[in-house]
């Protein structure tokens, strides 16, 4: 932001002055709000991208998915007959920078909305700023923080089911088929805490017991030292891990159990996103189970929408990039970017959205949406959208590793994932 204000040979004083002036300009909003968008001007969507930092492998694929979805959207005539643009801005997977990116979208780029944030600590850091700036903010983080009421009326999650619903819907299957005594391994921050809290509740409700909880800092690089905390009587090991070290995590888990006795293992695919399941050291995963938001390997009887989506984002039948088999996608999660874009389209068209002045009308129109049908715009499956909690609900898959591939063995129903509303955002003021 301050670059343009720096003269070729700045003194320190001049630079500091420039930065201060720039900050003042931005906060007072010198650039008046886009008063009236012309009907042919493109709609600008700001995409808050984890291009660097610990979320980078997701960011790479989220950018590709968003670009592919945008092409489909514009080829079909855009939104309200207007072309759509996406502005990608890196937040370094950092909450503080996330808030700055949101601010940039609202004040500098004059974006109509912001979207695409995944890591829940970044969502927690960014969403309040979006609320203050009255910028509709669409997150794809799975975190329960939207539906829990912790955020604000401007923040919505129409593209992916939240963790609470995911674990509620799968817990009965895990307890019936794998075992009753569960040990949980999860990252020690908001997203992991959602797993800890709601899966533990769901286990108890289904007659099981969580006998140990192992929290691991998300920036950790070595994991062996955590594994002795897994009690020997554990029947099911529930793991979910994020960040650049996920491959190390799974490898070391394999080393730790080796060829000895091990519990049944149920993991969230997060522990393996962007990682080739055939990597050396991961052989022990054969026979273990994974949650998948969207199955990485092409399943039998896949819908046409699924095939078209897979081709559009450039992913082959094994979940890797068509141009580089070593570049494995974050396939279980990235559908949320695609679906969020089309949810935004549905909302903007329902609201007759013209420009930033219609942002409130747009959020209200989103709240009135009840469902998204499965199809080209929602290839992962149908969604129920709860306008009061701003949260979507969808179908979850449980897959088993067979012959080095993930094969779906169970799909939850929509009702499995419902829980009583914890908030009614529609009663909050804008």
């Amino acid at each position: 932001m301050s670059n343009k204000l720096i003269t070729p040979n700045p003194s320190r004083r001049a630079v500091l002055g420039g930065i201060a002036a720039g900050g003042a300009l931005l906060t007072t909003g010198l650039g008046a709000r886009f008063a009236q968008a012309q009907s042919s001007a493109p709609i600008k969507l700001g995409f808050q991208l984890h291009r660097t930092g610990i979320g980078a492998s997701y960011g790479r694929w989220y950018e590709r998915t968003a670009t592919a979805a945008l092409k489909v959207l514009n080829d079909a005539g855009g939104i309200n007959g207007r072309p759509v643009e996406i502005l990608f801005e890196d937040d370094g997977t950092d909450p503080k920078r996330g808030a700055e990116v949101v601010e940039k979208f609202a004040t500098q780029h004059k974006c109509d909305i912001g979207f695409g944030t995944l890591f829940s600590h970044v969502v927690m850091g960014s969403a309040p700023r979006a609320g203050e700036l009255k910028l509709p903010y669409f997150v794809v983080s799975e975190g329960h923080h939207v539906a829990s009421g912790a955020l604000n009326r401007w923040t919505l999650q129409p593209g992916i089911t939240d963790v609470k619903s995911q674990v509620l819907s799968m817990a009965p299957w895990v307890l019936q088929n794998l075992g009753k005594k569960v040990t949980m391994v999860f990252p020690d921050y908001a997203f992991g805490h959602d797993h800890r809290d709601y899966f533990t509740q769901a286990v108890q409700a289904n007659g099981g017991e969580v006998i140990a909880q192992v929290a691991i800092p998300p920036t950790e690089t070595t994991f062996t030292r955590y594994f002795p905390k897994i009690p020997r009587e554990t029947e099911v090991l529930y793991h979910v891990m994020v960040g650049p070290a996920v491959l190390t995590f799974v490898k070391e888990l394999g080393e730790f159990y080796g060829t000895g006795a091990r519990p049944e293992i149920f993991g969230f695919i997060d522990s393996l996103e962007a990682v080739n399941i055939a990597s050396p050291g991961l052989e022990f995963l054969e026979g273990t189970h994974f949650w998948e938001g969207h199955p990485r390997y092409l399943q039998e009887g896949a819908s046409e929408a699924e095939l078209a989506y897979r081709a559009a984002v450039g992913v082959d039948d094994t979940g890797a990039s068509v141009s580089d088999p070593a570049d494995v996608a974050t396939y279980a999660h990235m559908f949320s970017v695609w679906e969020t874009l089309f949810a935004v389209k549905a909302g903007m068209e329902a609201a007759g959205y013209q420009g930033p002045d219609d942002r409130q009308k747009f959020v209200e129109a989103m709240e009135a949406i009840a469902a998204f049908d499965e199809g080209a715009e929602h290839p992962q499956g149908p969604k129920v959208f709860n306008g009061k909690t701003h949260q979507a609900f969808g179908l979850q898959s449980i897959s088993k590793v067979e012959g080095g591939k993930l094969k779906r063995v169970h799909q939850t129903t929509m009702e499995d994932g419902f829980y009583p509303d914890e908030v009614d955002y529609t009663t909050m003021s804008f």
């Binding site: 291009r51 660097t52 930092g53 610990i54 980078a56 492998s57 960011g59 790479r60 800092p217 950790e220 690089t221 070595t222 062996t224 030292r225 955590y226 594994f227 002795p228 020997r232 650049p244 070290a245 491959l247 190390t248 070391e252 080393e255 730790f256 159990y257 080796g258 060829t259 000895g260 962007a274 990597s279 050396p280 050291g281």
Partner: protein, 293 residues
């Protein structure tokens, strides 16, 4: 898990930490001891070693062991060369003033990190281990490679000690450490000694990184932790004392392994930092350091 095997695992983990830490910290300690430079970019040199090891693994054909052997020789040399260049181009021009060199090495840290981000990318990338042997104990399995890391670190440290004590280069370094001006008066090219020492320190960090990268994966932000722990070790051991560094690395590594296995890794870091504070208050020169005037 029962207490015995639990402790065994903790000690094995601690030993691996200690070995890598000893290598990294001895590089930092050398640079401080001889040049009186607090090298904040040390972690970046560590990261650079790991990233270069990944590139080597991509380019060298054949089994992983061959690529690894090449990386173990080539990466420290490249990193050392970059460090020597940084020394002559930056640090020398600042006359090795303590404050200026700290700021300069912070800048260097950012340059190296951003360069790695641009050329290597933001992802963590695995480097295959030279061999995959798993020890299957009755209670748990353990990577044979991790134990090999400990052995390799001991050999390298022995080599460093031999160089310092029994070669002419080591003699010159020690002379420069004791008194830079007198050394210069005796015809020692202090500039070249400094460049060599800075390169050697960075090279040691790079060797540690090449050894650890099959366990941890290469990532452009991986230098932070080793830097912090190296500073802790060097301060506890006594600035500039190689023997103190080794003892402190063993102490910190093992206690880190035991505390983080039995309690929590965060607690291990808290305690290590607390020990640093106590050492600074009660024995500012460190366990084995000598008071400098």
């Amino acid at each position: 898990m029962e207490f015995g095997p639990f402790l065994l695992l903790a000690l094995m983990e601690g030993l691996v930490t200690a070995a890598v830490l000893a290598l990294t910290a001895s590089g930092l300690s050398l640079v401080f001891g001889i040049m009186r430079v607090v090298n904040v970019a040390h972690g970046a040199f560590f990261m650079l070693g790991a990233v270069l090891a990944w590139f080597t693994a991509q380019w060298v054909p054949g089994p992983p062991a061959v690529a690894f052997a090449v990386a173990l020789i080539v990466c420290p040399l490249i990193v050392g060369a970059i460090a020597a260049l940084a020394d002559t181009a930056i640090l020398k021009r600042l006359n090795y003033e303590p404050e200026a060199t700290i700021v300069a090495t912070i800048g260097l840290l950012y340059i190296l990190e951003q360069a790695a981000l641009s050329l290597f990318g933001p992802d963590a990338r695995p480097v295959p281990a030279p061999f995959n042997i798993r020890l299957q104990l009755p209670w748990f399995g353990y990577s044979g490679y991790k134990l090999a890391v400990v052995a390799a670190a001991i050999i390298v440290l022995l080599g460093v000690w031999l160089i310092l004590k029994h070669t002419r280069a080591g003699l010159v370094m020690r002379a420069t450490q004791i008194d830079r001006d007198t050394a210069r008066a005796f015809g020692i090219n202090v500039d070249r000694v400094y460049a060599g020492v800075f390169a050697m320190g960075a090279g040691l960090a790079a060797i540690a990184a090449v050894l650890i990268v099959p366990i941890q994966q290469a990532h452009y932000l991986m230098g932070g932790d080793p830097l912090l722990l190296s500073f802790i070790v060097v301060i506890i051991g006594g600035l500039g004392s190689l023997r103190g560094t080794l003892v402190a690395a063993l102490l910190i590594g093992l206690s880190d392994g035991v505390i983080s296995t039995f309690f929590a890794p965060t607690l291990a870091k808290i305690i290590a930092t607390l020990v640093v504070a106590l050492v600074l208050v009660f024995r500012p020169q460190g366990l084995f350091g000598t008071r400098t005037t």
